[in-house]
């Protein structure tokens, strides 16, 4: 097969000792950058781009792909350990990752996230080789109407996820939208709520808001609870200790979410726009809808971490598809990569794959190898990172605030953004105190401007008619998907209820029959716990066993 020949050639070309060293260096640098709150993959790439100018294009792209992956994973580490996502794509990882860390399961959470990322990245690399032409033609059908629908899809998912107090959740999202209106209005060029400040022309960035809400807000809230006085239950994070490794139960429980997340993430990521963020949210929602224990979500459910983790990693592979096949960046990080391509004299565009095949396939191959490297590095480094969770709060708290200030300042060197970050820290404290959802705010801040911009573009194009959404093929498909997304949780509930009723009736019948024949068959006495763990895998069919055991 041609594609696999190409991939194999790419791997051979990339796997020189020099390149492997670059790969290692890239993954480490990426992780360090990603762990600093505020420096996500796009900032990491931008900062490290100049380092690669002295390398040949293949070496440079190997290193950058490694940085990209390392930084993505670094964001997960902070999401899990200190509840501070480095970028919007890892917001969903805080939902269950942080509760897991609080339960003392930071080690398994991080290892499972690394495994999820590895599987997703590998599936993504294979999918790129196979599905590039297919997804490229899909990506080319994405105009403003489709982009708007994808963003709405993400927002709908968010509303479904909020759960708990939906009113407060929706209110949080509205605050996010309000913050998102600051800056130049793309439609008319008017300034909104900038008060003449130069710093606010480009609007309020996601990064200071997220760092403030999650990082500083969390610290303040812990202080308020008196967390600094608590004696931490020491949990030992060491690769040698048994607690560090995920249990067989974790692995089985996550197999389905990781597989689903990988495919979902890849295809959402291949569409230009808010790829990874929307993908991780959709995956979280999907996992919660198909889960048999949705009530565990948000309180430390492993599938709630591994699904979105797989999805955001697969989405970053997916984002390479429009980049390599159309020359169109699908995300902020790939936009920086395009800048790099041009500086190495490579013309991004549809001809990149035919004119510079060794480069394009080298890139894909280095993503593949980068994943392996990331998994190896992680297994050795997670104990080091996870030991952060052992540091007493009175030491860790102030340190995190310093890191938050530094992280915010390094991104744009702006003191106004540091002020915004600290302001959002206060806001985050009160939001947590009164049960608002900081995650909803942050996601709305990221997706709000895109929704507004694409809707306005759509309305200019259609002359104000909403019929445009029904005229275009891809739009129609997205509308159908949206309806499915809304109906799916309802339908699963109905199916479950119907199944439960059916099984109860069947069980009752059997019991009656058994009573009549006098005594149960021996097989019925299998302890329910074991069947339950098996039932946690991919499909919903084993539903029967769970209901049976209750």
């Amino acid at each position: 097969m041609d594609t696999f020949d190409n991939l194999a050639n790419g791997i051979v070309a990339v796997a020189t000792p020099m390149n492997l060293l670059l790969l290692l260096a890239g993954v480490m640098l990426g992780m360090i950058v990603g762990v600093m709150p505020g420096l996500g993959p796009s900032a990491g790439l931008a900062i490290l781009l100049p380092l690669t100018f002295t390398l040949d294009p293949t070496g440079a792209v190997v290193m950058l792909a490694a940085v990209y992956y390392g930084a993505m994973y670094g964001g997960t580490i902070t999401s899990v350990l200190i509840n501070t996502p480095g970028e919007s794509a890892t917001v969903a990882s805080t939902f269950d990752g942080y509760p897991l860390a609080k339960q003392g399961r930071a080690g398994p959470a991080l290892v499972m996230a690394a495994i999820g990322s590895f599987v997703a990245g590998t599936i993504g690399a294979v999918l790129i080789s196979v599905a590039s032409p297919m997804t490229a033609s899909l990506a080319a059908t994405f105009g403003p109407p489709e982009l708007f629908l994808v963003v709405i899809l993400g927002l709908l998912t968010l509303i479904v996820i909020i759960g708990g107090n939906r009113l407060l959740g929706a209110l949080s999202a509205l605050i996010g939208f309000a913050i998102a209106t600051v800056g130049i209005d793309i439609g008319t060029g008017q300034q909104r709520y900038t008060f003449g400040s130069v710093e606010l022309i480009n609007g309020i960035d996601f990064i200071p808001v997220a760092i403030g809400l999650f990082g500083v807000g969390e610290i303040l809230h812990t202080l308020w609870r008196g967390g600094h006085l608590e004696k931490l239950a020491y949990f030992n994070v060491s690769a040698r200790s048994r607690d560090f490794w995920p249990t067989g139960h974790d692995l089985r429980e996550s197999a389905g979410p990781i597989t689903r997340g990988s495919f979902l993430g890849f295809f959402v990521g291949a569409t230009p726009g808010a790829g990874a963020t929307v993908a991780s949210l959709m995956s979280y929602n999907l996992e919660r809808s198909v889960s048999k224990t949705p009530e565990k979500f948000g309180k430390g459910a492993m599938p709630g971490l591994t699904g979105p983790e797989a999805a955001n990693n697969a989405a970053s592979s997916g984002a390479m598809v429009p980049l390599l096949t159309l020359g169109i960046p699908g995300s902020a990080s790939t936009a920086v990569l395009i800048g790099g391509f041009m500086m190495w004299g490579l013309q991004p565009g549809p001809l990149l794959m035919t004119q510079n095949p060794e480069f394009a396939w080298g890139l894909i191959a280095s993503m593949f190898l980068g994943n392996i490297m990331l998994l190896l590095v992680n297994v050795f480094c997670i104990p080091a990172f996870a030991s952060i969770a052992r540091v007493p709060f009175r030491v860790l708290g102030p340190a995190i605030i310093v890191i938050c200030v530094l992280g915010t300042f390094t991104v744009n060197g702006s003191i106004v953004e540091v002020a915004i970050m600290l302001g959002c820290g206060l806001l985050g404290f009160f939001m947590r105190r009164f049960g608002f959802s900081p995650a909803a705010l942050v996601i709305a801040l990221v997706l709000g401007p895109m929704a507004e911009e694409s809707l306005r573009q759509t309305m200019i194009i259609s002359g104000g008619s909403f019929g445009i959404f029904l005229d275009r093929g891809t739009s129609r498909a997205l509308l159908v998907l949206m309806v499915l997304l809304l109906v799916l949780p309802l339908v699963t509930v109905l199916i479950k209820r119907a199944a439960a009723r059916g099984i109860a009736r069947y069980g009752a019948m059997r019991r009656r029959r058994a009573r009549r024949s006098g005594g149960l068959p021996g097989g019925e006495h299998t302890p329910p716990a074991t069947t339950d763990t098996v039932a946690d895998s991919t499909d919903r069919e084993p539903e029967t066993e769970r209901v049976d055991s209750t």
């Binding site: 994405f142 130069v198 920086v336 194009i461």
Partner: protein
């Protein structure tokens, strides 16, 4: 590379000691101009047109040993250039800060209270003009400029796109439409990628793009160039007519130039004008212009300021007329 720089620095130091020994004619003013590190500000993020130009220049300066000290390059992006050029503004009176310009250098002060005007800075010179292409999708029913005008005038009103609102792209689309007698609905984008997919998906009819960023798609036949805004046809696209040929004159372009802080010392300005005149003669610079399809357009010193002033006035008039300001 590092070694040559160190060698160079020590050579320069040696020279300075020698000249200091030779005679004390300068009267303690410190002697020849470049005697400190240069602080080079790029007002945009890495990878964009401005960034590539600045890094090419610095590379040429260092490779040809034109600047005797170190040059520190830093991306200070934010506020459509306002942050970076604001930083340069704060170095007023000094000769060791420098920055490259682009279209936002003219348009940002028009839409925001930046505290500076393009004419406030000490001009080194305009080096090149970055012209644009009007682009249609490769499968559109119009594949030449004439077909496009027929299509647009036949339809009366068409949907076109460009980057931003208060920007060169909008002025181009509107000027062409006015000249040919059709109406446009202008869709502003923030991002080149989204605009390209939008065009390919058939949501908009044409868009404005820079040759450097769209040439790959043109060669692959995915998009078709209809019109070039420069004064002469591009060598790479000999079949694409210019605005001038079709009676649309004075289409604006992105000014790619170099500026020093306001009120920089005369000797600094002189030194940079002379040095940049050498830079634009180098093969590397010509290669850069060719690769990025930039047109040589050189105006040194005060000519550059006059040019900036005129261009800003023209932009302001056009944009006010079009209702964007």
């Amino acid at each position: 590379m590092k070694h040559t720089r160190i060698a160079l620095a020590s050579a320069a130091a040696l020279m300075m000691t020698l000249s200091a020994c030779g005679g004390d004619s300068g009267g303690g003013s410190g002697g020849a101009y470049p005697s400190e590190d240069m602080d080079w500000t790029i007002a945009f993020g890495p990878g964009g047109g401005n960034d590539i130009m600045a890094r090419t220049m610095v590379d040429i300066l260092q490779r040809n040993d034109l600047y005797p000290e170190n040059i520190r390059v830093e991306n200070r992006d934010g506020g459509s250039g306002a942050t970076g050029w604001g930083y340069l503004l704060n170095q007023a009176g000094e000769g060791y800060g420098i920055s490259t310009t682009s279209g936002s250098f003219i348009t940002t002060p028009l839409q925001a209270d930046t505290g500076w005007e393009p004419t406030d800075f000490t001009p080194v010179g305009l080096l090149a003009a970055d012209n644009a292409l009007m682009i249609a999708a490769g499968d559109a029913e119009f594949q030449t400029y004439d077909e496009w005008v027929d299509y647009a005038t036949g339809k009366g009103s068409v949907v076109v796109g460009g980057i931003g609102t208060v920007n060169v792209d909008y002025i181009i689309q509107q000027m062409v439409a006015d000249a040919e007698g059709y109406e446009i609905e202008y869709v502003p984008y923030n991002d080149e990628g989204q605009m390209q997919t939008s065009l390919l998906s058939g949501a908009i009819d044409t868009m404005i793009s820079n040759p450097g960023s769209i040439m790959g798609q043109i060669e692959a036949g995915q998009v078709t160039p209809l019109l070039f805004t420069g004064p002469e046809r591009l060598e790479a696209l000999p079949d694409v007519p210019t605005g001038e040929e079709n009676g649309v004159s004075d289409l604006p372009s992105m000014p790619r130039g170099l500026i020093l802080p306001p009120d920089a010392p005369q000797e600094a300005q002189d030194w940079w004008v002379e040095t940049m005149q050498e830079v634009v003669e180098t093969e590397e610079w010509q290669a850069y212009l060719d690769e990025n399809f930039l047109l040589e357009d050189e105006r040194w010193g005060e000519d550059f300021t006059t040019y900036l002033d005129e261009t800003q006035t023209a932009f302001e008039e056009q944009l006010t007329e079009l209702g964007a300001l």
